[in-house]
């Protein structure tokens, strides 16, 4: 059995479900894209995908290009709305009436993109790109910038080099 390395709840206040609650449960996710022109036919990008990821685990999904990996990733972030199925994040159902709102999900889940050249806005200093997340979630600009500086410092990048 794989060893599960988890933060104990006392150390991480963000952990609301507890160490035994799976981080993410996907149940029967489905997303079909209608083919332009051919009525009735559709591309079944994601068709009944279910998995469970526990805290401290890493799940790798491998497949040939065009098999639906990116679509699945987008579904997990609710960048596209699934046709069917549900997503449960840390015990709360996403986009359900009394569950987790999509916006709250966005505060805790993010995507790292394949193409590093198009991942960052070339007209924005990197510090501002990093600060964009907290800023758009409601923080004031100076506060968001400070959070960005902290994060940059934490990963070993000198904040003064990445923003005027």
């Amino acid at each position: 059995m794989a060893e599960v390395i988890a933060l104990s709840p006392a150390l991480d206040p963000r952990d609301r479900g507890g160490p035994l609650q799976p981080m993410l449960i996907a149940r029967d996710l489905r997303k079909h894209f209608p083919v332009k022109g051919a009525r009735g036919k559709s591309v079944q990008a994601v068709d009944g995908v279910s998995f469970t990821v526990r805290k401290g685990e890493t799940l790798g999904i491998v497949g040939e290009s065009g098999c639906g990996k990116t679509t699945l990733a987008r579904l997990l972030l609710h960048l596209i709305v699934p046709d069917a199925g549900e997503l449960i994040f840390d015990g709360e159902a996403v986009n359900a009436p009394d569950g987790l709102s999509v916006n709250a999900l966005r505060r805790q889940v993010q995507m790292v993109f394949q193409d590093s050249y198009s991942s960052l806005n070339p007209r924005m200093p990197i510090r501002d790109s990093v600060a964009f997340g907290p800023f758009i979630q409601g923080r004031e600009k100076p506060e968001a910038r400070n959070i960005a500086r902290d994060i940059l410092a934490k990963v070993g990048l000198d904040p003064d080099l990445f923003g005027p």
């Binding site: 390395i5 933060l7 150390l11 972030l77 960048l79 999509v102 916006n103 966005r106 505060r107 889940v109 993010q110 995507m111 993109f113 394949q114 193409d115 050249y117 198009s118 991942s119 960052l120 806005n121 070339p122 007209r123 924005m124 200093p125 790109s129 964009f132 997340g133 758009i136 979630q137 410092a153 934490k154 990963v155 070993g156 990048l157 000198d158 003064d160 080099l161 990445f162 923003g163 005027p164």
Partner: protein, 302 residues
């Protein structure tokens, strides 16, 4: 096994990072930096500034009244009785008429480009970002106007409406809006496909926020460059309309109109008759070269 808790202690890699060779600058700061070190563009930009100032302060600088006619002093050559650039077919001072005419010619060139940039740019961003049917509808409508050669369209609209400076500006605005829209749409469509837009959406940004913080900044560059290159074309087109009689009415001075009325007199004082064209040429080429310089400064390739 990696100790996850260790992330709370910042990695001390600062010491290994050398200070950067150049100062960290924002994008617009680097544009200004490049411009400041581009002597050719600076020279032509100052000429443009001089022309604009001369036109603006025409009432203060002009040696004579541009409307004052003189029967005996008609079509005099350069330097006759303090008329540095001679007189026209009604005896009016050419230099003064050139200065006053600059106001009309410049505004007929710049104003339509400004309005076309605003309207066309807005439509292009909307179409490019919305995609699909909305985009197709907007671009097909623009394509219809694209199907006319610009001179023809300008003449058609201004001609049908009866000429005059207002109609002329309206015609020119209609001529420049479609290309502006197309530039904005292309830029927006390209930007929209990039990952950082999706990342912004994944952070929870609304469409308006994405456009404001991510799209506009990246689209503004190409749009601005294109608009600056349109100004020289606009000045040529506007004076062309005036040449055909579709701009201001006489006796208001305007470079194109002056060329038209002086045409009959080329057998008498050819040099004087060519002067308004020189003004148009110099203004247009200077705007052109400044626009090229702007493009060089703003077009950064990674």
């Amino acid at each position: 096994m990696a100790d996850i808790v260790a992330l709370d202690r910042p990695l001390d890699a600062f010491a290994e990072q050398a200070p950067p060779a150049t100062r960290v600058r924002g994008y617009w700061q680097s544009v200004f930096y490049r411009l400041r070190h581009d002597p050719v563009t600076l020279v032509f930009a100052s000429i443009v500034l001089l022309i604009v100032l001369a036109a603006l302060f025409a009432p203060l600088i002009a040696p004579f009244d541009p409307y004052k006619e003189s029967i005996v002093g008609r079509l005099k050559p350069f330097g006759w009785r303090e008329h540095l650039l001679g007189t026209d077919e009604l005896g009016r001072d050419m230099l003064s008429r050139l200065l006053y005419g600059g106001r009309i010619s410049l505004s007929m060139g710049v104003v339509p480009v400004l309005i076309a940039t605003l309207i066309g740019g807005m439509l292009g961003v909307i179409g490019g970002f919305a995609g699909g049917r909305v985009n197709t509808a907007i671009m097909r409508t623009m394509d219809v106007f694209y199907a006319f050669p610009s001179v023809l369209l300008a003449v058609a609209i201004a001609g049908a409406m009866g000429g005059g400076i207002g109609n002329g500006m309206l015609a020119l605005t209609l001529v420049f809006t479609p290309p502006m829209c197309r530039v904005a749409e292309t830029a927006t469509t390209q930007v929209r496909a990039l990952d950082y837009i999706e990342a912004a959406r994944a952070s929870g940004a609304s469409t308006a926020a994405i456009i404001r913080y991510h799209v506009l900044g990246n689209v503004l560059g190409p749009v601005f460059i294109y608009a600056s290159s349109l100004v020289s074309v606009a000045i040529l087109l506007a004076s062309g309309l005036s040449f055909l009689g579709l701009g201001v009415r006489p006796p208001t001075p305007d470079w194109g109109l002056m060329l038209s009325t002086l045409r009959q007199s080329i057998y008498v004082v050819p040099a004087v008759c060519a002067v308004p064209g020189v003004a148009i040429f110099i203004t247009s080429i200077c705007f052109n070269l400044v626009s090229d310089g702007l493009r060089a400064a703003m077009d950064v390739r990674m």
